[in-house]
């Protein structure tokens, strides 16, 4: 099913909740007018509420898109000990390279 359809589901059920509220309020005022005792909501309103809740859940879950796998090792796959074992904070400059560079004048490098 294309994603816009889930959006329609979602908005339809959310809009549907407004008439449901009105229905419920009307029911309460009717009960008050006829001076009956209020015990529970009528079954059709309850069922409609549950159905629209389930459809909303379905719409939300499908709108959110697919989950992406967490790949813990992905970062390290292409690394070698040359980069991982390189420790820039501990560089020292008295290494064997200094002897290598010592002979040549700096401009020629």
């Amino acid at each position: 099913m294309p994603p816009p359809l889930y959006g329609t589901f979602l908005s339809a059920t959310l809009w549907n909740s407004i008439p449901l509220h009105i229905c419920q309020a009307e029911n309460r005022s009717y009960i008050r007018l006829t001076e009956q005792e209020f015990n529970r909501l009528p079954a059709d309103i309850v069922i409609e509420c549950f159905v629209s809740l389930i459809v909303t859940c379905y719409g939300v879950i499908n709108m959110a898109g697919k989950f992406k796998g967490i790949r813990a090792m992905a970062d390290f796959q292409n690394k070698s000990m040359d980069t991982v074992g390189n420790r820039p904070s501990f560089y020292h400059f008295a290494h064997r390279g200094t002897k290598l560079y010592a002979g040549e004048p700096e401009e020629e490098r």
Binding site: A72, M73, F76, Q77, K79, S80, M81, D82, T83, V84, G85, N86, R87, P88, S89, F90, Y91, H92, F93, A94, G97, T98, L100, Y101, A102, E106, R109
Partner: protein
């Protein structure tokens, strides 16, 4: 080399090296010098980390005049920053003035006693003076305060390896494995230390950790070779029971098959791998 490359390529390359902490000092100094000479305005604020990167690279490959230029520019822009003072200290180190550098670092630490980067430089001075036991002592003190610094643990391990204290180095890598259990290189390095220590028990541990490294990254050739060598060594050992011998032969032949398969994928023409593996097995059996 740099003249034929365009600005974005060079900048992105240097940025990537900076983030991945790649050493490549000679190339970094060349490319960075080119960028700083031609595109200083275009770089915007990125010019300052680039100055830092280039000056450290220049110090590393002995181009002190380039390093002096960069460090001077940074110090003019940020005269009171500890980071720029640290660069100046590094220049003094490279010039061989270790006492002066130590003074510079101690001055920074007076204002900011928790500056880990500067403490690491003090340890690096010991290394530069070839005082490895001193460096180990200082580094141990540092690690007491900064226990989660994996770079320091790795440095300590390498220093212990230099001094041939393999069991202590192994302990450092155990810490690193705990800090990041999915890192195949830590497992591989730990196994290498165990393999170096030798003895049937350590070899068995080495084989297990090499196997774990292969499991985490099947393209780790060094771990495959390590697994092959340790397993064939165990299989050839005279003290091993028959059951262990057959098991280890199985592991060794599996690793050998994997190595041969990888070579076939990379270079279908090469057919000397089998022979080479046989030779390795013979030498490791002795």
């Amino acid at each position: 080399m740099a003249a034929t490359m365009n600005f974005e390529d060079v900048r992105d390359k240097l940025r990537k090296w900076r983030e991945d902490k790649v050493r490549n000092s000679v190339e970094t100094a060349d490319l960075g010098e080119y960028l700083l000479a031609n595109y200083r305005r275009k770089l915007g604020d990125e010019v300052w980390p680039l100055y830092e990167q280039v000056s450290i690279a220049a110090l590393d490959c002995g181009r002190l005049s380039l390093a002096r230029l960069c460090i001077h520019a940074v110090r003019q822009q940020f005269p009171h920053s500890s980071r720029s003072k640290r660069l100046h200290g590094m220049l003094e180190e490279a010039e061989g003035e270790f006492d002066k550098a130590r003074e510079t670092y101690n001055d920074i630490l007076k204002d900011d006693p928790a500056n880990g980067l500067v403490m690491k430089r003090l340890i690096a001075i010991h290394k530069g003076q070839n005082d490895i036991p001193g460096a180990i002592k200082e580094l141990n003190k540092y690690i007491e305060n900064f226990m989660s610094d994996s770079e320091a643990w790795m440095e300590l391990a390498e220093l212990y390896i230099q001094e041939q204290h393999y069991s202590k180095a192994a302990f450092c890598f155990e810490e690193l494995i705990l800090s990041n259990p999915h890192h195949h290189l830590y497992h591989q390095r730990y196994a290498e230390i165990m393999y170096t220590q030798g003895g049937p028990e350590n070899l068995e541990i080495a084989r297990k950790y090499f196997a774990q490294a292969v499991k985490l990254n099947s393209n780790n050739m060094r771990a495959l070779y390590g697994m092959f060598l340790s397993a064939s060594h165990l299989a050839a050992s005279s003290k091993a029971t028959i059951k262990k011998k057959t098991e280890n032969t199985k592991y060794a032949s599996w690793a050998a098959a994997q190595i041969a398969h990888k070579y076939k994928q990379a270079e279908p023409q090469v057919e000397v791998v089998g022979e080479m593996l046989d030779k390795l097995a013979i030498t490791s059996g002795n």
